[in-house]
Symmetry: C2
Subunit: 289 residues, 2 copies
Amino acid sequence: MPEPIVRAHHPFDEAIALTPIAAADAESDRGSTRSWGGRTHPAYANMVGPYGGIMAAQALNAALQHPELLGEPISLTVNFAAALADGPFRAEARPARTNRSTQHWLVSLLQTDEVGAESTKITATVVTAKRRTTWSSSEGAKPGVPPPASVARAAPVRPTAWFERYELRFCAGEPPRDWDGAEADSETQLWVRDEPARPLDFCSLAALADAFYPRVWRKRALLTPAGTVSMTVYFHVGAAELAAVGTGYLLGQARGQRFFNGFFDQHAALWSEAGDLLATTHQIVYFKE
Amino acid sequence: MPEPIVRAHHPFDEAIALTPIAAADAESDRGSTRSWGGRTHPAYANMVGPYGGIMAAQALNAALQHPELLGEPISLTVNFAAALADGPFRAEARPARTNRSTQHWLVSLLQTDEVGAESTKITATVVTAKRRTTWSSSEGAKPGVPPPASVARAAPVRPTAWFERYELRFCAGEPPRDWDGAEADSETQLWVRDEPARPLDFCSLAALADAFYPRVWRKRALLTPAGTVSMTVYFHVGAAELAAVGTGYLLGQARGQRFFNGFFDQHAALWSEAGDLLATTHQIVYFKE
């Protein structure tokens, strides 16, 4: 395969860009609250509001931009309280607690409505830590699948902008061809990377954790409305290991365990081509009918 | 088996009890913040600070006690920023956003130190929702194991108080008999219920989600220091289904996927004896060496 073209100004970097609003005015023992201005990006639009993964990356980036940041991300939980409207938002981040080697963050994305009232659209918690070198081991083995070049690139399930920001190659569990209500299992295996290709970092890995289409679509072969309510990402590598992945493909595997009265779960894992387990992720998703 | 004895005053209920501190003084468009007084309970003490599961239940209970509560718990994420000291704490809960059928909560557990400074020990987010009856399905099948009565009850791994608050019957992956550093897989299957028996509810289910001993102990057969950093519980049933479980045993299965430079993950599921998947849960855990 030819080397991928890496754009200098990638839409992902534009989408997660945050501009400091003001210096901290509320320093306290609990850490200082900082604010940034952000903006939704049309390249990552979803059917209603932005792609969940880009909002997860924006929330994570607020903590990573904070001058009091300690270490690298270990855990991220994002709660999608309401859809972001197209336009500007305010990101707020505060270290709720800073220990010697770990730090606990509270993050919110907020928007102001037409009458000037600001409301919370996204809440998030982040744990960052200084890792030390320890005994390490992996039990989650990368499934055996054909290499990316031998798997066809997928056409978008639906004409949404964010789908075009990822190169998706389904090894198993592709979106149903016929939305005929024929139930199947909920598993999907796919190769994925940013489109255009972009070197992997914590924010793009967080966004990639949401790149699976709703498990209920796979399970039921029905395009029922569905939206992520809460999503957690555990990062299993440091910045050096992410840099080593570069613009390579990730293998993702996702599955649901229970669909019950309006909500289902999804658990997923993301490996590098070399077989390194980079992240595990879970989400709980609303569905209708 | 004889019917279990259910105590009128169960230590679990004592441990999660919260007393309102004052009426809301900060009503706002973002919802009102309420405060409660709580206290650590010696029956749920761990090696350093309380058992994580009881703190998860205390945090969840703050949201459930709030007069503005909408619906039942769908998702809970608890971040263990610092160990609670033995004694009183303050629980604070605020609905960050209330939609028509879902509600997003921010919860903190705080303690005041000897010089009067209050600091955050636990942060949590909770999603509650009014469920509607929909198509439902389960893919996470309960593993085939012998019934609880035919599995021996476990002796405590270490003499910690909380271990005596659960009846644990290991079907597979029991704690190593010899701490000899012999590596194994990280999987555990066990029957578990409160000791003494207590009818299941959302708070006790949240606590049970943490009833697996650290996966790194199983994996390495080494008693390395370990502590949960962040834990998420997805609730896959409503109050009626929990009530139907009553004081029955739950089957729990837990496994780690990656152990890397000081942190590992654990994913687990909890089924009723009847085979109903009640909750899935994930945590990221610090370990030393």
